[in-house]
Symmetry: C2
DNA sequence: CCCTCGCTTTGCAACGATGCAGAGATGATG
DNA sequence: CATCATCTCTGCATCGTTGCAAAGCGAGGG
């Protein structure tokens, strides 16, 4: 029942512990005769190396932690999938935790009693904690920030270019001839940096098109969830002069907005066109399917993981903000039934 | 930079290593004077316990692994969220891995070179590996099976009652007056045990209603993904006599099916009613919203985690199949616009 | 005044693995 | 035949922590 150790195997094979270790690891040459004998003992006892002990001795655990706000938010689930895959390619496994966007939980992670020492490094997608505070708390643990925070100059950080992404989404709506374009998802307070970048991109597109921004059309939401998108859309529909298009700061808001539109009997995209951000799978099969700005999640994950491993082994360049690619996927919610992807 | 150890702190405070350990753990009483002095040293050196060393000594790691086929499948993401939450309540953290439904990957997990020894236990949602094979490979590691496999009598197992769930879904369609009810998602081969149970429930409902099963209406799918639901639906629509309702074996299939129906101009639920299984959030905001049989994921997670911890510390009863509750959520895809939940 | 008791504090061993340096054995070389 | 290089193999120390048993110490009782 209890796992056998190198000592058990050594005793059985009549060799030293060290020789068994050499056979297991294959790094040091072992004579054929002994190798066979040791291997037999290994098999008979069904030896499995104790990785905790190995980690202690080697000083590395082969584990990284990925911390996201909510795993049941599709974007994070899809990103987690890619991170796990990317980590595996480097021989690493991934511990997952959620903060629920709770600042306390995020702080705890980096605090005294956290389990951070079990991991070689941390991929963090912070929501509630501010960039400045992060800097103060990340002396010990190698950290790479993921996706959604403004660059503060002291930590590695992988994200799409949010201003450009938002501008392109808005320009797409403009190119379709829409002129009264709303925005759902602004977060005009300290931890809403990503949202603020998207608002900047949105404004930029309108200004370049020579339009003035109607502040009434910018509806803030505290989080990026479906029901908040629906609520925001209802508010927009209640305006004396409703929009003819909506740029939602993520796909869940967009799906909530489309839900509200469908209920209200408003046609998408004929009456109101909708575009989101994130490129989640859900948007491919919504009715209508959702036009979206899709970050390259696999690329984000690969870059984040290899950067983190670089920080861990000290080979990484100084902290920098790495821009990941994104692209606009045009579907029915802006282009109508013609857009079948 | 490098973390300080108990020895560093002990040296600085002028006490023994053991005393520092006692202060850190608080289990053994320490005089006020020393405690204050040690605490000061702890703070100055910003001591963090090395959890790898602690784990080695204590023989437990405080980590469990959760292995699912695909994390970007919403059901598994939502379940993972609950598992992480439930584990945290017991002081455990969760390592996540994916098998992509690949039997090799699942086998690897339990094999010689796996990282399983790093974890105190394993929550496994097997897809490709058969129950018999599992039994042979799980001697060493405490395992609890999650959600989707038939009970083989030797492992703990938490799942909903799939036969009943499928029967209730089908009966709901019957109660609406539908008579030509299709089923999407059967998997009539060795690893499709969950699907087969749902087929049994489906047949049972029809038989009890005195209807004969039209085998043409049972469309198998190799996996439970959106696009396969759409393909299956297209095949059903091409029949000389299409169905007036569809029971899909999970929500993704249902969403794919509804997507195909919308494209084909078929009205849901007027022409064809659709019901799924899983209760994923996506179904609340689809158009129309999706009627579904929702397993109580939080309950499944709590039961699975506490059972696993029981197996780990030896206090668990002998392996048994634990049935988790489920309930039917009626929404627009069967009840029409009246059903607003 | 001595002994015992109870409390705090300590040193040592151990968890299971690997790094290192050196011991044997073997073969090659002068 | 002696010397040295080469190749295996081994023992010891160590990673940082905690369990255990015993040492130190002051107080209370006989």
């Amino acid at each position: 029942m209890a796992g056998s150790t190198l000592r058990d195997v050594a005793r059985r094979a009549g060799v030293s512990i060290r020789t068994v270790s050499n056979v297991v690891n294959g790094s040091v040459p072992v004579s054929d005769e002994l190798r066979v004998r040791v291997q037999a003992a290994l098999d008979e006892l069904d030896y499995r190396p104790n990785l905790v002990a190995r980690n202690l001795r080697r000083g590395r655990s082969g584990m990284i932690a990925l911390v996201v706000p909510e795993l049941d938010v599709p974007y994070f689930a899809e990103l987690a999938r890619e991170v796990i895959t990317a980590a595996r390619a480097h021989g690493y496994v991934v511990m997952l935790d959620q903060t629920d966007g709770d600042g306390e939980r995020e702080r705890e992670l980096l605090g005294r009693e956290s389990r951070a020492t079990m991991f070689d490094g941390l991929l963090l997608s912070p929501l509630a904690i501010s960039a400045d505070e992060l800097r103060l708390r990340t002396n010990r643990v190698p950290v790479v920030l993921l996706g959604e925070h403004i660059f503060n100059g002291s930590l590695h950080h992988v994200a799409i270019d949010n201003v450009t992404a938002a501008r392109e989404a808005t320009e797409h709506l403009l190119a379709l001839g829409r002129r009264r374009i709303a925005a759902i998802g602004d977060q005009p307070y300290s931890t809403g940096e990503t949202a603020q970048l998207r608002t900047i991109g949105y404004r930029l597109a309108l200004e370049r098109a020579g339009l003035t921004v109607d502040e009434e059309l910018i509806v803030p939401t505290p989080r990026f969830h479906r029901h908040l998108g629906a609520e925001a859309m209802e508010r927009l529909l209640a305006l004396p002069e409703p929009p003819d298009a909506v740029f939602c700061y993520n796909d869940l808001l967009a799906i909530g907005a489309m839900h509200a539109l469908t209920r209200a009997g408003v046609r998408v995209p004929d009456d109101i066109a909708v575009v989101g951000v994130d490129g989640i799978q859900e948007g491919r099969y919504s009715s209508p399917s959702l036009t979206t700005v899709a970050p390259d999640k696999a690329q984000i994950a690969r870059t984040a993981v290899s950067t983190l491993l670089g920080v861990i082994d000290g080979s990484a360049p100084p902290p920098a903000e790495v821009k990941a690619p994104h692209r606009l996927l045009v579907r029915e919610s802006t282009a109508g039934p013609a857009a079948r992807t």
